[in-house]
């Protein structure tokens, strides 16, 4: 079992981490290059840059839309994301691994905070999952991976909480830890190739759709001219 743990912590971790980092960088660069190429080929290059950037930044802060539409869903989602991002990155035990392996470290979360964030992530993930299953609108839009992702994301959080806080037997600890590591690595590997890539693409996809939907004021006339229907009602 020790050998398995070593393997999961060593080569397998480096593989999955490398796939994640390079994969995310890849989708990001491909997106930006595609956007740049589309802009380069566009006939009319006038864009309201200030407005687009402002809209992108506004969309980037989720609080703005919390109390319109679906407040319960929005709050769950925000709280879920806070724990999801903070705990893996700033957990003391994780940073210790980084320090012993590579020799780099950064500030950590206090243990009680990390524990409560873990619990909140688990709770809100379940809440989101329930919401998705029981809301007709959501379940109509959902694919299989939308249900599977919260479950997969839960796995390392639950096992990590067990390992950190519950005294179990040594062998049970090792099995739980192995599941914790392997599920985390599975997430890493799938991350750049599924919808979770929004963790890096989000601001840019906001930006791109802002660009795409901000036609200049006289676009309708231009379209009509092109279609030889000048003066027709749009």
């Amino acid at each position: 079992m020790d050998a398995w743990l070593e393997f999961a912590r060593g080569p397998l971790f480096r593989l999955s981490f490398g796939v994640m980092m390079l994969g995310l960088l890849r989708v990001l660069l491909l997106d930006l290059y595609g956007a740049w190429e589309a802009y380069r080929r566009a006939g009319d290059k006038t864009l309201p840059w200030g407005y687009i950037i402002r809209r992108t930044l506004v969309w980037f802060f989720p609080v703005n839309k919390v109390f319109k539409g679906r407040p319960f869903y929005s709050i769950c989602s925000i709280l879920f994301h806070i724990g999801l991002i903070l705990v893996p990155v700033f957990l003391f035990a994780h940073i210790q691994l980084w320090e012993s392996g590579v020799g780099i470290s950064w500030p950590t979360l206090p243990k009680p905070v990390a524990d409560w964030l873990t619990i909140s992530t688990i709770v809100f993930a379940i809440a989101l999952l329930i919401g998705r299953s029981f809301s007709r609108m959501s379940s109509f839009l959902s694919r299989k991976q939308d249900y599977l992702w919260p479950l997969l994301l839960l796995l390392p959080f639950v096992t990590g909480y067990v390992c950190a806080n519950m005294s179990v037997s040594a062998s049970a600890y090792q099995v739980t830890m192995l599941i914790h590591i392997l599920s985390g690595e599975l997430i890493f590997i799938l991350l750049p190739f599924t919808k979770i890539a929004h963790c890096i693409l989000l601001p840019f996809s906001q930006f791109v759709s802002c660009v795409a939907w901000r036609f200049p004021a006289d676009t309708d006339d231009a379209v009509c001219t092109t279609l030889n229907k000048k003066g027709a009602p749009v």
Partner: protein, 621 residues
């Protein structure tokens, strides 16, 4: 997938592995990925990338010389290919050099700090200058395509001949000076390769194989992009190579014969086998295939001859710069990671080459991407109905994925035990031997310094001077030797050993004895060492310790001796030499050490630097 896709995927995979290895090398150091050591500092990065890479880049100056000096205009259409191959050859060699150098950030220093006595001085200057010339020679091609810097392009095109002549001069200088470099290795290099004619052999063989590399490049492109090769012109160019190969063969074998080394070819050792393989690849096969007119004009004959000559020349250079250049007693095998980097650099150069072929006007006519023809049109995938887009888009998507995955794989394959930072390996210091005259040689590599103890006592002021060097003692001792505290050759070490003091297996001292009960347990508030160890300081007025670390033996010697010597040299201008390195690091070692040294050096020593055997001859007094 067509052949170009497969080829490019392989290239991107190799590049990904190499980049992962290179990043690991720059973060964790050379030891993390390579088997290079102080006794074998030149591995396959030198043997396979730097030296052969430069030899194979000779096509640039040879072909331009043929076109512009010999006025053979029919080869003009291959000028740009030749220059591009030369540029990429030099660039890949320089890249390998940066990965391979121990302190790559000092690579610019030969430009500022001129060291005329170094054999590498001219080599490094030639590499830099010729790389610059090649860049300027090739620059008009991309500039023409992009339309940037039109003035610069016109200027470069106008003075092309100057660049061509500069290229010919610097490159021929450099090819031969690489050979000259190995003239300093008569005792290391195997006699079948070592020759006084090495500079000439290097130059001639580079001239011979240079055009063949260009031909091979052209044939590969034609194969990859399904184009008809212009065999007539290529064969003419190959014939020029053939003539020079014959000249090279004559020089090589006459050189061997004059020095009486011909019998060594058949003495059955593995070196002789390698030599025969090299001669077969580099001389026999190309001479036969290119000598027969019919074979020379056939595509297969031409391809095999060029490929064989290229591999043969690479093997020759690899032998001279690596395989046959072994110090006795040291063994070197490249790690798989070194192979990754070696292949990856070559693959990266080929990727750039293909990029230039696809995007720039390398030939007299620019080839349109053949995959834009109907039969290469993107097809609907089997699993999904997604159209991946035009070839440019599909390439980006595909090869970036290949690169990312192979990079991650390479990163995963890194050796766990080598990339964990364990720090410098400790070498325990050995006590200086001798009586009134001591031989200080901490790591027993027989290159120590003689220390006249009695004379130092006399000149520094008898008994009162002891404490100048013997500033501290081991507990219960007087006049402890340097080695007792400074016990590690190159690293600082802990002389206090807190855990030992507290441990039941050590001194068994309770915490309260040193740390006052009501205070926080810190070093500052703890008891002084001398409160218990009254004999610790030789000088009772000495300052207390501010650290428990004793500097390394080397540092201890240098700080103590050099400071004092420097002070004396400044005070007495007639004794300036006292502060110079040879003041201590000099002279014949005493006779009684001779046997010991010989014994020490006869054993392979993994931990310390093997010095060249030439220095070992101890002078008889």
């Amino acid at each position: 997938m067509n052949r170009l896709d497969v080829f490019k995927s392989v290239l991107w995979t190799l590049t990904g592995l190499a980049v992962a290895t290179a990043i690991t090398r720059f973060i964790f150091g050379l030891g993390a990925v390579s088997n290079l050591s102080d006794s074998t500092p030149w591995g396959i990065w030198k043997g396979l990338n730097v030296v052969p890479g430069i030899a194979l880049a000779a096509g640039g100056f040879v072909v331009t010389a043929v076109i512009y000096v010999l006025k053979r205009e029919e080869f003009h259409r291959y000028a740009k290919v030749a220059v591009l191959i030369a540029f990429l050859g030099y660039l890949s060699a320089a890249t390998a050099l940066v990965v391979e150098l121990g302190l790559p950030w000092l690579v610019w220093q030969p430009v500022i700090y001129w060291q005329f006595h170094s054999a590498l001085f001219e080599v490094s200057w030639c590499v830099m200058l010729y790389l610059g010339v090649l860049l300027l020679e090739f620059l008009p091609v991309p500039l023409e395509e992009t339309g940037w810097f039109a003035g610069l392009r016109r200027f470069l095109t106008k003075y092309k001949l100057v660049l061509v002549f500069l290229g010919i001069m610097i490159s021929s200088l450099h090819q031969s000076s690489l050979g000259t470099l190995f003239l300093i290795t008569p005792e290391k290099l195997h006699p079948l390769w070592y020759s006084a004619l090495l500079p000439i052999e290097f130059l001639v063989s580079a001239i011979a194989v240079g055009p063949l590399v260009v031909i091979l490049g052209v044939l590969v492109i034609c194969y990859m992009y399904r184009k008809e090769a212009d065999r007539k012109t290529l064969s003419k160019l190959a014939y020029l190579g053939f003539i020079v190969i014959v000249i090279y063969g004559v020089i090589r074998f006459v050189g061997l014969g004059v020095n009486g080394k011909l019998p060594m070819i058949f003495d059955g050792s593995w070196q002789s086998t390698v030599f025969l393989i090299e001669i077969a690849l580099m001389l026999v096969i190309p001479i036969v295939l290119l000598g027969i007119r019919k074979l020379r004009y056939s595509q297969a004959g031409l391809a095999v001859a060029c490929f064989s000559a290229v591999i043969g020349l690479g093997l020759d250079r690899a032998n001279i710069a690596g395989v046959m250049l072994q110090v006795p007693g040291s063994q070197y095998y490249p790690t798989i990671y070194e192979v990754f980097v070696s292949l990856g650099i070559v693959a990266g150069a080929i990727i750039v080459f293909l990029f230039c072929v696809e995007h720039f006007k390398i030939w007299d006519v620019k080839w349109k991407d053949p995959r834009e023809r109907p039969e290469y049109c993107p097809q609907f995938g089997l699993g999904s109905d997604v159209w991946l887009g035009s070839p440019g888009v599909t390439e980006r998507v595909k090869y970036s994925l290949v690169f990312a995955l192979s990079f991650a794989l390479g990163f995963a394959l890194m050796p766990q035990d080598r990339i964990e930072s364990k720090g410098v390996e400790e070498i325990t210091v050995q006590k200086a031997r001798g009586g009134d005259t001591l031989f200080i040689d901490g790591n027993l590599d027989a290159f120590g310094t003689l220390f006249d103890h009695a004379r130092h006592v006399d000149s520094l002021g008898q008994k009162q001077s002891c404490i100048k060097c013997h500033h501290m003692n081991v507990p219960l001792d007087k006049e402890s030797g340097c080695w007792e505290c400074h016990s590690s050759m190159y690293t600082a070490n802990d002389i206090f050993r807190h855990d030992w003091h507290a441990s039941p297996n050590g001194a068994t001292i309770a915490c309260d004895i040193c740390h006052k009960p009501e205070q926080e347990r810190q070093k500052a508030s703890a008891k002084e060492c001398r409160d218990c160890h009254i004999d610790l300081y030789a000088d009772s007025t000495a300052d207390t310790l501010d650290t428990y670390l004793a500097v390394s033996y080397v540092d201890a010697m240098h700080i103590l001796c050099v400071d004092c010597h420097r002070g004396r040299a400044v005070a007495d201008t007639t004794r300036v030499a006292l502060a110079q390195c040879p003041a201590c690091h000099t002279g014949p070692q005493p006779d009684y050490l001779k046997a010991e040294m010989a014994d020490e050096l006869s054993r392979p020593a993994p931990n310390h630097v093997m010095m060249p055997p030439a220095v070992l001859q101890v002078k008889e007094e």
